[in-house]
Symmetry: C2
Subunit: 93 residues, 2 copies
DNA sequence: ACGGGGCATCACCAGAAACTGATATCACCA
DNA sequence: TGGTGATATCAGTTTCTGGTGATGCCCCGT
């Protein structure tokens, strides 16, 4: 899930969607990417549950899934917490 | 920064280090990866500030930088918060 | 119902990134 | 001080992934 935010284009899409739901054409226009490219990224994000698609007539509106983002954040927070808790458990070679 | 956790091998390294500081040989053994491979991943993580290296005689101990993980988590949390706050601002085409 | 625009999907290509093998360096120990 | 083990680095290969072009579908307006 975090894996998907690695690509700059996908990070830009997520960032743009943080400003509110938008349709594919908005993203294509705002980010200056090709339409198939945006569509492919959206598919990846959709399959991972990071964004949700909402057909609206001829358009498709996308919005972020805040819960998924929170879950990813929680995972990182957990790693940080575990790192702090075990910082003295140095393993011997 | 989040970008680095995309690779499964690096995610595994970070996960292993969450259990406590360890030297390169531990990671090589635990993850079943080649030593140069692990070293290269550690270099990438080191340069991004995700892990810190600590020379210890002939060995090099690595430990996670909890602050960096928290910063990444905060970024995701911020995205989620913005997504919730703007969920009604649907842009018209 | 016909034309057009928005969107998704697919096949392909190019660039990037990971893994490997060889090698250099350094610290420890006998 | 020579040998060994741990680590880092580098060049080369392979694998993966993102971008593009072409195409088809669907919905809307006329």
């Amino acid at each position: 899930m975090v894996r998907l935010l690695a690509d700059p284009a996908r990070a830009a899409i997520v960032d743009a969607l943080a400003a509110g739901p938008a349709c594919t054409c908005h993203l294509v226009e705002d980010l200056g990417l090709s339409q198939p490219n945006v569509s492919n990224h959206l598919r990846a994000l959709r399959h991972a549950g990071v964004v949700k698609a909402e057909p609206y007539g001829r358009y498709t509106y996308y919005h972020l899934n805040a819960d998924a983002l929170d879950a990813a954040a929680a995972h990182l927070t957990d790693l940080a917490a575990r790192a702090r808790a075990t910082s003295d458990n140095r393993r011997e070679c």
